[in-house]
């Protein structure tokens, strides 16, 4: 059959296969509780990454290892990154009501992180050392919460 196939038909089939493959990449996976926990885990991992980055750069700045300009850019990047992480996770549909608590917890943590990053950015632009130390402490709390959530999610 393959040998009898015309070149045009072969190209159409290849085109169809590529289209299906592309569509499979666009369409989300079937929803179930495991998927939702996977999404939560990914959101926590990304949130943790941004919080750790922010803490590291704040400590470098407070130790006079980083310039204010550089620290400001890195903090702003972390703050900017949190929005899409929140939006992406918030747009996911929990499969069952028992996942609603998980949704609320993760959303709350990411919201707290966004607040802490905003405080850090404001303090950095004002060269407010006390404000940065407060933001550092807030971020330490956020990291502890996210670490616990990550451990619970497995």
């Amino acid at each position: 059959v393959a040998l009898a196939m015309s070149p045009g038909s072969a190209w159409r089939r290849i085109g169809l296969a590529l289209s299906v493959a592309a569509l499979c990449g666009c369409v989300g996976p079937a929803r179930n509780s495991d998927n939702y926990h996977g999404d939560a885990s990914a959101a926590v991992r990304s949130g943790l990454s941004e919080a750790q980055t922010a803490r590291l750069v704040i400590r470098q700045f407070l130790n006079h290892h980083a310039t204010g300009e550089y620290a400001d850019v890195v903090l702003t990047d972390s703050e900017t990154a949190i929005g899409p992480i929140q939006d992406s996770f918030g747009s996911r549909q929990p499969d069952s009501p028992k996942d609603d608590d998980l949704r609320d917890t993760i959303t709350q943590m990411l919201g707290d992180e966004e607040d802490a990053l905003a405080h850090a950015r404001i303090a950095m632009r004002r060269s407010d050392v006390a404000g940065l130390q407060d933001a550092d402490a807030d971020l330490a709390d956020v990291i502890a919460d996210l670490d616990k959530a990550q451990a619970d999610l497995g």
Binding site: G25, L56, V57, H64, Y70
Partner: protein
């Protein structure tokens, strides 16, 4: 003595010029997520670029003609056009990424938003391409790019467990948190970043610009076989720094600022300034190389006068291509597209376009009509064929892996 300095300068330039925005970002991302377990992909890419850069440099030195000039003549206008279109699409994307990289480096130094720097960076690159001598472009940014050695110093200063780092590099194993498809996707990205097509276009066309002959083959080979591997060591140093500082605390690199953070931790403000200088030089130099590569390739294919060795007034179409490419790059970046994402896509698309770039070079390097006694030997053909096979596998696997992993998420 002047010959010694010529070789030394060429090697230093090759080291400094090896790393571009693709290498900076990809090595930072990979180090933070996979540790040194993908070092093999960088080494493989470095060997591959050495094989094909030597081949294309030899073709330029012996024939005195540019790559696309020969490809069109040897393989015909249709195959030549397909080759040109694929290579140019990737090189133009890389040009966009490099100009974005300059803007990001300037933002890190000034905290002025990168969108404001993008037109400045694009215009500055175009001005340099228009006004500055070829040798000056090549040498100044290549030498300044050596500032990235600060990553090797930082890696040493961080005092890692070298045994563990070397073990993970020589005994690659995928971290349990990462899926095999993501691991392979980033292997292809690292391979594509090391073997970006523009490097070969620039290297061979640069040979024509500098009027290489058979006498220059030794210098060319020392640049390739010493300079490029040492340049690849810088890539590994960036990955090692990211591994030491980020892997255990769960930081995943997604900005250029994060790539510099291990240097800040190890060396403080002085290290940061040197790293930012290195970022600027590496991206500016690579922007010049990619911009020129676009102009070289299109002009060579259509048979226009090209190159920096003639007055701009005598190569108007070549310089018009440079101007239009720069305007295109600025326009794309001003859409607020993330330059880091452009970079990540450019290295993977590079891998996809590699067969179309390297197969014609292998064919021309085997043609006695052009090469005479300098035609490929057995060793060059063995390595060339072997790498062509790897390149084809990487190119075929790149798109499916990109879809499956959602571009490495």
């Amino acid at each position: 003595m002047s010959a010694f300095f010529a070789v030394a300068l060429g090697v230093l330039t090759a080291i400094g010029g090896f790393v571009d925005i693709g290498d900076l970002v990809t090595n930072g991302v990979v180090g933070s997520r996979f540790g040194m377990s993908l070092a093999w992909a960088t080494v493989l890419g470095a060997v591959g670029i050495c094989v094909f850069a030597e081949m294309s440099g030899r073709v330029a030195a012996i024939s005195g003609r540019g790559t696309f000039d020969l490809v069109r003549e040897r393989l015909g206008p249709r195959v030549g056009l397909a080759n040109l279109a694929a290579s140019m699409a990737v090189t133009l994307l890389t040009y966009v990424a490099e100009i974005g990289g300059i803007a990001l480096a300037l933002q890190l130094a000034s905290s002025v938003n990168n969108l404001l720097w993008m037109p400045v960076a694009g215009a500055a690159v175009w001005l340099v391409l228009w006004r500055v001598r070829f040798s000056l472009i090549e040498n100044v940014f290549g030498i300044l790019g050596l500032a990235l050695v600060v990553f090797a110093v930082a890696a040493w200063k961080l005092g890692p467990d070298w045994g563990s780092l070397i073990h993970s590099a020589t005994h690659p194993s995928r971290p349990s948190t990462e899926h095999i498809s993501t691991y392979l996707y980033y292997a292809i990205a690292l391979f594509g970043a090391a073997m970006t097509p523009y490097e070969v276009f620039f290297f061979s066309s640069g040979g024509v610009e500098e009027h290489w002959t058979a006498k220059d083959l030794k210098t060319m080979r020392s640049n390739v076989f010493v300079g490029f591997p040492l340049g690849a060591m810088l890539s590994l140093a960036i990955a090692a720094c990211a591994t030491v500082v980020f892997l255990d605390v769960g930081i995943q690199v997604d900005t250029l600022g994060q790539v510099a953070l291990p240097v800040v931790v190890a060396l403080g403000k002085i290290g940061l300034v040197i790293a930012l200088l290195g970022f600027f030089a590496a991206t500016f130099g690579a922007a010049c190389e990619t911009g020129l590569s676009v102009g070289y390739s299109i002009s060579q294919y259509f048979g226009w006068q090209w190159g920096k060795f003639v007055e701009p007034a005598r190569a108007t179409r070549f310089h018009t291509v440079l101007l239009l490419s720069s305007m295109f790059a600025i326009a794309v970046l001003l859409t607020t597209v993330d330059p880091i994402q452009v970079t990540e896509y450019s290295v993977v698309f590079s891998a996809i376009a590699l067969p179309l770039t390297y197969l014609p070079i292998l064919i021309v390097a085997n043609d006695r009509t052009y090469m005479g006694e300098h035609v490929n030997g057995r060793l060059a053909n063995l390595f060339g064929s072997m790498f062509l096979l790897i390149i084809v596998v990487a190119a075929v696997a790149a798109i499916p892996l990109m879809i499956i992993t959602k571009a490495g998420e």
